[in-house]
Amino acid sequence: MNNGLEDAEKYINDIIQNLPDSKYKQRFREELLEYLEDGEKKSGNDGKTNSSEEMIKKLGKKVLLIQNYNDFYRDTHPKRWFITTVFYVLLSFIVSSIASAPLRQFETLFFYSDYSASTISSIITVSFSILFALAVNHAFYKFIATRLSIHFESDKRKKKLLFIFFLLPIISILLAVFWLPSYCIGQENTLEIMFFPLPFLCAFLPALADFEIVRKKRKPTIPDTRLPYLTLAGFWVLIVIIVLSENFPNTALPYVLGNLKMAFYEFHFLIFFWADILVMIPNFMHLGLSGIDTSSFSFFDGNPQQVVNQQIIEAAIYIGVIGLAGVFLVYSARKKKDIVSKRWAKAVGLILISYSLFMIMPIKSTGESHIEWKVPEMELSRNIEEKQFGVFYDFIKFKNSNEGYIFNYDTCSIDDDFVAVQSSGYVFTANLKNISSVYEAKTIRTETRDQDSYCPKPTERKYDAPSTFFFQEGWKCLDRNDNVISMESRNVSDGCAKVAYNNHEILEGTACPIQSIDISKDRSWALIRMACIYGVDELHLADLRNLK
């Protein structure tokens, strides 16, 4: 008997062939397995054997293994279920990142800053995501149904449960699309937020389906003992490819392989989120709730030290949590008795250590790492090529031209010497003294109307910089030296707003309504915030030095 399991299957199948009603075949199979299991336990006791029991004795041990294996997963080992879930989360992260990146690139390459096209692209992307999530889930429904049938004999109850399982991802996707962007994250990048929970949804049902059992039944071609090291090797190959792609920016390599890097950035986003939360705690203590811009969940208060703190916490998470967890796993591998467990512990440990080092060590030829280790100067000069590598959400382009602006920012702050911008996981600062000119000023005549209550009246004006002006169509405000800042618009919604400072145009032809304008204390710079639609906010910096 070469393989007891195969023989057991053959034995059961032979019996089932004789069963005329297919309705009971699955149940018959289960009961036969139980019968064989009982037979194995009892045959040693009574000493009586017939032809059936001989077969039972031969096959019983294997069958017992199957039954115990099922019980193991079904009831008693949530740890194993957790591992399976994590596996699917990782897999889904990578797959969804790779799959979605071309669409995002399509959007950024062809429809960049175009309001309507961006919306269309978002709809396409979301539709794709939903289809993807459902397809993945559907593929595993069969297994779920099989497993449910073991537990629940009532068809009605089974159908109800399946229906709930089917609804869960749909509800979650709807929440992700409509709720998260508007309430949780505010005006962050919509695409990023919509994609963020999807991998978890994709991971949810497959994890229930119990990957290990499926894999076992398929008789994997790669032995269990080799799988951990192959996984580790695969991870390193991925790292090498990414590093190579970063060092050859002028080849097609980054374009093709940049999508792979997205998986890492998804994790980075997670880490950043927690760092953000931790940094926020002292702010809460210091400022109280009123000090936080809860309307958009903006944690950044403009203090450069906060930037440094955040970077330190990020690094601490990478090294302290992920890296040390890796070291612990490698160390614990020594105590494992089973060779497969030992190798998995080692491999996963080394992957975690590699990942933490990968994210904190300089990997580019420029020496730049994923973490900004200090408050850099002139970091607002990231170029468009980087966007095409896959860093789509922090496109920063502050050049000395009239096209200079920041796309998709979260929060911003301006002072006499620097402007700081937080954008989807990155904080950029620029020393304004090093910027010669951002915009070529033109003189325009603006048709001003009455001041709005939002616009500070002269008697109520606070002279603490930066001054913030909230704008609507055709309004005019005065700063403390009675410089006039005004905006005219034929129609805000058609994207033809103009902003002037002392009748000098400082911004023209925006696609979005202007939300507010911050003036630096020395009145040298204006930071113009545009609230377009979720995820495509723009931030313009205007040079006022020659317009006083």
Binding site: I15, N18, L19, P20, D21, Y24, R27, F28, E30, E31, L32, E34, Y35, E37, D38, G39, K41, K42, N50, S52, Q67, E153
Partner: protein, 116 residues
């Protein structure tokens, strides 16, 4: 197939229903063992015979099944004879009694032949 199996075939339903009626709800393996023990090893059911029979009885609503943890600690499908099953069992027992009476009558020694 030996002759005892041939003879058992016609009384399968009766044996299973009566065992369930006499000894209470039971699951496949234990049911086979009970029948073996009580029949003093005369009736030895194969699992390939018993389970399809139980499914047929369930189809006819003579038995019903449910899952329950057995004494072994494992969850098993138990079979329970329904009131309809009890009623049918009574009818079959009567039929079987008539059948047995006929058999016995046939198997009686022929007095005429003996006298002759």
């Amino acid at each position: 197939m030996d002759s005892s199996q041939e003879m058992t075939r016609g009384a399968l339903e009766l044996i299973v229903l009566q065992t369930l009626s006499n000894y209470g709800d039971n699951y496949g393996y234990e049911l086979i063992k009970t029948i073996e023990k009580k029949s003093e090893d005369i009736f030895k059911f194969r699992e390939g015979t018993l389970y399809p029979l139980l499914y047929r009885l369930e189809e006819k609503k003579l038995v019903e099944s449910y899952r329950k943890t057995a004494a072994s600690g494992k969850e098993r499908r138990f079979y329970h004879i329904t009131p309809k099953g009890e009623k049918v069992l009574e009818g079959e027992k009567e039929d079987f009694a008539v059948f047995m009476h006929g058999i016995k009558s046939i198997l009686k020694p022929n007095k005429f032949k003996l006298e002759k």
